[in-house]
Symmetry: C2
């Protein structure tokens, strides 16, 4: 058989693994808890167990695997596969993850940033499979991102390219955890949306279901409450979602002017809001960008859901294997 | 001899031409008025005259030229070399510039966006010659830009990539000529700097040389007056320049987070201000970006001055000739 690829999505909560053919068929999958609190060795064992389980599900032998790719939390040196000190993997410090996993699996292992890998997954096999350039924004607690240009994942010399959540959309705006001010993430993530809601509610004079839903305690407000209130026709909740969309559209307009991408893909739980979110995103992005590239850039929901990471990790590894082979010839 | 390249920088005021060897030596140059108001044919004639004069200065025959590159004002289709309707070339509408000049010069002609071409010039032979990625911002009446990533000029499908001046640094900020609000250009260009100065002066209570310099008429204020006042130790003028630098640093911080470039190059007349401008730019860019890529990205003045356009146009053409040859083999 043609050799298969392994893709691993290493998160702080779960390790997901997939066996993917070179053509992009997912042959087998596995997901198990990371047990990050048990430290490095335990996590590496979990990853090996996940690989074996996915291979078994796929009915593929280890000997038939060309290489493995890992999407890991940054910062990192993607060239050497060393992961620096990810906040959600306690005890990890300058871990040579590619080498350690390569020793265990006896195949070449490549490490890339998890958000970049998800972007590459959508580019390789998801909604971006027919374009040459795309940008992915993953809307969760924060805003993750990835960029593909000229058919290649943009990593940058430090592997930090694609931090779209940390585009400044308002100088001297909200303080971000990254140390900067006015980052897109502070307005366009779930937590950003909650800040927008709380700030306006605190000004008073509002009639909204949200007050009841959170029992009057604004700290208990969640993204789901906002979605639910929107569905129940709550005007204020709808404004909050739309305002979040306008912030997002502001950032996306900048990206369109900067990169002229064919496609801007939105992923993460928040995209379940549908048109209430997407309409203001599209309107603002068009208003904030030049006409020709603004019309060009399709703004659409991601297609691979939770599989983007494992598929992208396998795809990134395949891409790097092929590039390394090209260099050697 | 090895064949040489021709680079043409087509501006609304002047047509500049250079003959450049494949190794990047400038062998001969010419500059003459565009006479844009005389229409398309006259401008094409001027370009041919410029080429002949530059070849004569370089002592190179037309037969020894491999190809010509033109840096032209956008928007355009760089693949086909059709220039749409540049505001400073009256009467031009969907002009097949590459074809028209190729017929006249009897060599392959490639057209690229003028700001992108200047960026490529600095990348090929200027301050960026040792890096693989860089971003150029040209600070003039507006803010022009160009991006090189993974060793390639980023054009995008519409050739509009690199519009760094139209990155939004303040949602709902100053109205920009492009139709959007809060564009970097509205704060970090010469005209943006003048707006910042006027706005603050209008609030009153200031003691500044600028008032005297412009004869009390704020509309007469120029960038040079601000530079002069800075040199004479005017505190307010210094604040204006620094504030402009902080806006610029805000935009550059975003670019660093997004692209992780090795170098950010500033060009245009404003960079003559030196440290008064560069210090706040660097401080703000660092504060507004992640630590690792923020330390990586050198922020430095451009090196080629007015020659970046002609050199870059020749370099872009050489790059495209070589790429086309690669495809054919």
């Amino acid at each position: 058989m043609t050799k298969a690829m392994i893709g691993i999505d290493l998160g702080g909560t779960n390790v997901k693994t997939a066996v993917v053919s070179r053509e992009g068929d997912v042959l087998g999958k596995d997901s198990r808890p990371t047990d990050a609190e048990q430290g490095l060795e335990a996590v590496l064992d979990k990853m090996v167990e996940g690989v074996d389980a996915a291979l078994q599900a796929a009915k593929v032998q280890r000997a038939d695997v060309l290489a493995a790719g890992i999407g890991a939390p940054g910062p990192m040196n993607w060239q050497t596969g060393v992961v620096f000190a990810p906040p959600n993997l306690p005890g990890w410090k300058d871990v040579p993850l590619a080498r350690l996993m390569s020793e265990r699996l006896q195949i070449p292992v490549y490490v890339d940033n998890d958000a970049n890998v998800a972007c590459y997954g959508e580019f390789w096999l998801g909604v971006g499979r027919k374009v040459d350039s795309m940008v992915l924004l993953t809307l969760g607690t924060g805003v993750g991102g990835g960029i593909v240009l000229m058919g290649q994942l943009l990593r940058g010399p430090d592997g930090t390219a694609g931090e779209i959540g940390h585009l400044c959309v308002k100088r001297d705006g909200r303080q971000c955890n990254c140390g900067a001010k006015g980052c897109l993430e502070q307005y366009a993530s779930v937590s950003g949306m909650l800040k927008t809601a709380r700030k306006r509610i605190e000004q008073g004079g509002l009639n909204t279901l949200l007050l009841e839903m959170c029992g009057g305690a604004l700290d208990n407000l969640t993204g789901k409450m906002i979605s639910d209130a929107v569905e129940q026709g709550d005007t204020f909740a709808k404004w909050v979602m739309e305002e979040t969309g306008r912030w997002l559209g502001t950032g996306i307009g900048s990206i369109i002017n900067l990169l002229n991408p064919e496609m801007v893909v939105l992923g993460g739980g928040m995209i379940g809001a549908g048109d209430v979110l997407f309409n203001p995103v599209r309107e603002t992005a068009r208003a904030q960008s030049f006409e020709v590239p603004g019309k060009r850039a399709e703004i659409i929901p991601a297609g691979l859901g939770g599989d983007a990471g494992v598929i992208g990790a396998a795809g990134c590894a395949l891409n790097r294997v092929e590039r390394d082979a090209g260099k050697g010839s």
